[in-house]
């Protein structure tokens, strides 16, 4: 039984009488502790899949099983709890709270659940020990993304869901971020799903899931993932 199971998911958006099928029977599974990369052309349904998986959105039909629980059957309260305890999100544009410092941003996530990691420590872990009292506006994109990752992993989630985490970063910074994510996966045993447009990143993953027009076109497993530092693009 896989850790994450995405089972024949259909997601339809009804916009002004026109039904758009963002997902059209997508199915995939990811094992615990794996780093999975999701690729696919723009509009293929990647973000939609990730949102459903993260409990931000619900599927029209199909089941989402995470750690043996059927998330797609959760009610509102259970979903809040699920997001609070099991999920860490990392967004393309970091989505930090501008009124809070780096540390406070991380604390915001850490204080929302029990058994969280220490905020300052987590920030140190992502290499921002000196910048913890800076507001997001005072940080670079990469630094902000680190804060964002720190905020996600401080909750000690089961899943880390990253939607194009390097999309707004340059090559080096992107690489550092990806390294951080790979480390997180390897070191903390957190299952990580990364959406990327960069197919070159495929070798770093244990599993590559390819989306095409709402369906999973193909899944490749990579028994020996390449460390990120060795990947060039």
């Amino acid at each position: 039984m896989p850790y994450i199971e995405f089972n024949d998911i259909v997601k339809e958006y009804n916009t002004g009488g026109l039904a758009i099928r963002a997902l059209d029977g997508a199915s995939f599974s990811v094992e615990k502790g794996e780093l999975a990369v999701i690729v696919g052309s723009s509009g293929a349904g990647k973000t939609t899949a990730l949102n459903i998986l993260g409990g931000m959105d619900s599927a029209t039909s199909g089941d989402v099983i995470v750690d043996g629980q059927n998330v797609s059957r959760y009610n509102k309260k259970q979903l809040v709890n699920y997001r609070r305890l099991d999920i860490g999100f990392v967004f393309q544009f970091y989505n930090l709270v501008p009124n809070l410092t780096a540390l406070e941003n991380v604390e915001l996530a850490a204080q929302i659940r029990p058994d969280s990691l220490d905020a300052a420590e987590t920030l140190t872990k992502v290499g921002l020990a000196e910048r913890i009292d800076n507001f997001p506006a005072q940080l670079s994109g990469g630094e902000q993304q680190r804060v964002s990752i720190a905020r996600a992993i401080a909750k000690n989630p089961k899943l880390l869901l990253c939607d194009e985490p390097t999309g707004a970063l340059d090559y080096t910074t992107g690489k550092q971020i990806l390294q951080l994510l790979q480390d997180t996966c390897r070191r903390d045993g957190i299952t990580v799903l990364i959406i990327t447009h960069n197919s070159a990143l495929a070798p770093m993953a244990d599993r590559v899931i390819r989306f095409k027009s709402g369906k999973v076109r193909d899944i490749t497993q990579n028994p020996n993932p390449t460390p990120i530092s060795e990947i060039e693009w």
Binding site: N81, F91, N95, V97, L100, K155
Partner: protein, 747 residues
């Protein structure tokens, strides 16, 4: 709650401070309006209370629909809690103000000093002939203190009484019932002479001298105010009507008269008060608009109403009602007498009419019978006449028939006679010729004498035979036989004579033959003569008979003519008689019709008269009923025990201040609505701006309420700070500033 989250909330407020302050300010403003106006109202109430205390305004007043008496005042004074009871009198008077007739309320000043007018200038009237007036009057009339004013002497206050009655809270003036009415003009004068229009037969009198007038006497009015000219000693404000004086505080005025005057009791002559004013014990310390004051007043009102009101009302009602009832009952008695008299007259008249009707009917029946008899008699006579005529006509016809028969008989007889005559004549001629021949032959030997005797005898026998033929009786027959024997003798004589003559004459020939034929001829001639005789006699007899018959007929005709004449006479007589009878009948009918017409006219007149009478009677009864109804209208004396709320200016101050208070309450609502709109737009802008952030919070695992909390805290904090802060500081700072606005009514 998440500490970092709280930090975010406060930093958000800090960043959006302007919006936060906007909400705060609008809430504070609403509260300012509320507290400011409320405090102003309270101060106005206090100032009014002070003024009323100072002028000793009544706490309770008693009004009655039938006025109040000294006994009432005493009874009220005896009620527990009543401090002072003062009988008051006021009345509307009229006076000339700069050429205009205007009304004024003339008020008697209380002997106990209640409702003391507030003196603006001068000093209160102290003796008869002095008067206090309002500023309004002085300004309208242009007079000054020390001048005099004159009111109209007003004996009949009816027009005002109505006006006052409409003014429900001041039923004043003399409380007598008013069934008085002007005596109306007489109905068509009975003095118009019951003329003798029906003077002929029964003298039916339908003109009845009735009188259905009712008069309900009234008592003479006396003026209530002793003098009409007064000296003005003061310019005052009426404490009962502070709003009817320029320069005071209230917003509205409902005054019914133009001015208010005050005179001393010395000028007022009345047994009936229009109101009793009271003050209650232990109320001077209370605020007059307070609930405690109202409770105390209501307790006193309750006591008056439950303890003495009913019995005092009844007493007053009884005395007023008794007076009024007596007047009306007198009037009713008089009226009933008049009615009885008139009714009797009418019923007499009707009896007369009935009598006349009966007589007329009898007369008619009689006349009808008479007419029938007369006509019958006439008809009989006429029938008799017709009978006579018919008989005459029958006789005439018979006569005609007889005459015709006679004529035809005569004609037939003449013809027979003529035939016989002709036969006779022929026979004679033949015989005569034969005889002549014989004579010729014999010549002078002709025995003339024998011949003539023979002829004569033969004629006699023949005549006798012929005549006897129709009826042969024995006597006649015997005579005839005798005659015939004589004739035979004659004949023999003649033949002998002849034979001798023939012998003498020498007649050769056969003498016998000659003698025979001559005898024969002689007998023949004699028979002829006899026949002629008989014929002539027959003719004569016949002619005689005819003549007799003709005579008879002409006699009959004469008789009939006589009959006709007498019939004509009878008819003429009958005609005359008939005409006379008919004329007499017509006259009788005419007379009867006239009688009826007269009766009908008389009846109509009577009906008309009676209708008129009934009308007047109904009118009179209505008038009485009205008077009684008016008695009913007097109803029970109704007391109105009122508090100061019955004063327009008192309650209007209350309602005006309440209106201002309501504005003070409405204002914050308005501001609240504005604040609501302001915070609504502010908050929705904020939420709109933070949509991304809300998504992030959601992704981090914040629940919907936790996220909404942030914005609720923002909004609530702003309004509570604004409202609460304002409320705490306004209470102390605003009140003194507006408390001086109603210290005295006018200066």
């Amino acid at each position: 709650m998440n500490r970092a989250y709280l930090k975010d909330i406060f930093r958000t407020i800090k960043k959006n401070a302007k919006r936060f302050l906007a909400i705060l300010a609008i809430t504070a403003l609403g509260l300012t309006a509320f507290t400011g106006i409320t405090a102003a109202c309270r101060d106005l109430y206090r100032a009014a209370d002070r003024f009323y205390d100072q002028q000793r305004l009544f706490d309770v007043r008693v009004l009655s629909t039938l006025g109040l008496t000294d006994e009432d005042v005493e009874a009220i004074h005896a009620v527990t809690g009543v401090e002072t009871a003062s009988g008051a009198y006021s009345e509307t008077v009229h006076l000339d103000v700069n050429g205009q007739r205007q009304s004024a309320e003339m008020v008697m000043l209380s002997e106990q000093g209640l409702n003391r007018p507030w003196i603006e200038d001068g000093s209160m009237p102290e003796k008869a002939g002095e008067i206090a007036v309002t500023r309004k009057y002085l300004e309208a009339s242009g007079k000054a203190l020390g001048d005099t004013l004159t009111i109209e002497e007003d004996l009949n206050e009816d027009d005002d009484a109505d006006e006052d009655a409409a003014d429900a809270d001041a039923p004043e003036g003399s409380a007598e019932p008013e069934p008085e009415r002007e005596p109306e003009p007489e109905p068509d004068e009975p003095a118009e002479e019951p003329d003798a229009s029906d003077d002929d037969d029964d003298g039916l009198n339908t003109d009845i001298d009735w009188d259905a007038e009712v008069e309900i006497e009234e008592e003479p009015e006396t003026p209530t105010f002793k003098s009409t000219t007064y000296t003005i000693t003061a310019m005052v404000v009426d404490p009962l009507d502070i709003s009817n004086n320029e320069g005071t505080s209230a917003f509205r005025s409902t005054a019914t008269t133009d001015f208010t005057f005050f005179v001393t009791p010395a000028d007022v002559d009345t047994e009936v008060y229009t109101a009793v004013y009271l003050t209650l014990e232990g109320l001077s310390g209370l605020d007059c608009y307070s609930a405690a004051y109202e409770d105390a007043v209501n307790t006193a009102i309750g006591l008056i109403e439950s303890n003495i009101m009913a019995q005092r009302q009844q007493a007053r009602y009884d005395s007023v009602m008794g007076e009024a009832l007596e007047i009306i009952t007198d009037a009713e008695d008089t009226m009933n007498e008049k009615f009885t008299e008139a009714d009797e007259q009418f019923s007499d008249a009707w009896a007369d009419v009935e009598e006349a009707k009966r007589e007329l009917a009898d007369g008619e029946a009689e006349l009808t019978a008479e007419e029938r008899d007369a006509l019958q008699k006439l008809a009989d006579a006429r029938a008799e006449l017709e009978d006579g005529k018919a008989k005459l006509r029958d006789g005439e016809a018979e006569l005609d028939k007889g005459e015709a028969k006679l004529n035809s008989q005569a004609k037939a007889a003449e013809k027979t006679f003529a035939e016989k005559q002709a036969g006779l004549d022929t026979a004679r001629a033949e015989l005569s010729a034969g005889v002549q021949q014989l004579q010729g032959i014999l010549g002078e030997h002709w025995p003339e004498a024998e011949w003539n005797a023979l002829v004569e005898t033969a004629a006699g026998v023949a005549a006798g035979l012929l005549a006897a033929t129709p009826d042969i009786d024995s006597t006649a027959l015997a005579q005839q036989v005798g005659a015939a024997v004589a004739a035979t003798q004659q004949m023999a004589d003649f033949s002998a004579a002849l034979g001798m003559a023939a012998g003498m004459a020498g007649y050769p020939g056969d003498i016998a033959e000659l003698v025979a034929s001559a005898a024969e001829a002689g007998i023949g001639l004699g028979v002829l003569d006899g026949s002629q005789q008989v014929l002539d006699a027959g003719k004569q007899t016949f002619n005689k008979q005819i003549a007799a018959a003709r005579k008879k007929i002409s006699d009959g005709r004469a008789e009939i003519a006589e009959g006709w004449r007498s019939l004509a006479e009878g008819e003429a007589e009958l005609d005359a008689e008939e005409q006379k009878a008919l004329r007499e009948l017509r006259d009788a009918w005419q007379e009867l019709a006239e009688g009826k017409q007269e009766l009908a006219e008389g009846e109509a007149e009577l009906i008309e008269n009676e209708e008129k009478y009934q009308e007047k009677k109904t009118e009179a009864e209505e008038k009485l009923a009205d008077a009684y109804a008016e008695l009913d209208d007097i109803d029970m004396a109704q007391w109105y025990v009122q508090d100061r709320g019955s004063l327009d200016s008192y309650s209007s101050l209350d309602t005006d201040l309440a209106s201002i208070g309501a504005i003070g309450k409405a204002f914050p609502v308005l501001f609240l609505v504005v604040a609501l709109l302001v915070s609504l737009t502010t908050m929705s802008r904020l939420v709109e701006e933070e949509r991304g952030l809300i998504g992030t919070y959601k992704a981090l695992g914040f629940g919907s309420f936790a996220i909404a909390w942030k914005y609720l805290v923002y909004a609530l904090l702003a309004s509570l700070l604004g409202g609460g802060g304002r409320a705490t500081c306004s209470a102390s700072s605003l009140c003194p500033s507006c408390s001086s606005s109603f210290s005295r009514p006018s200066t």
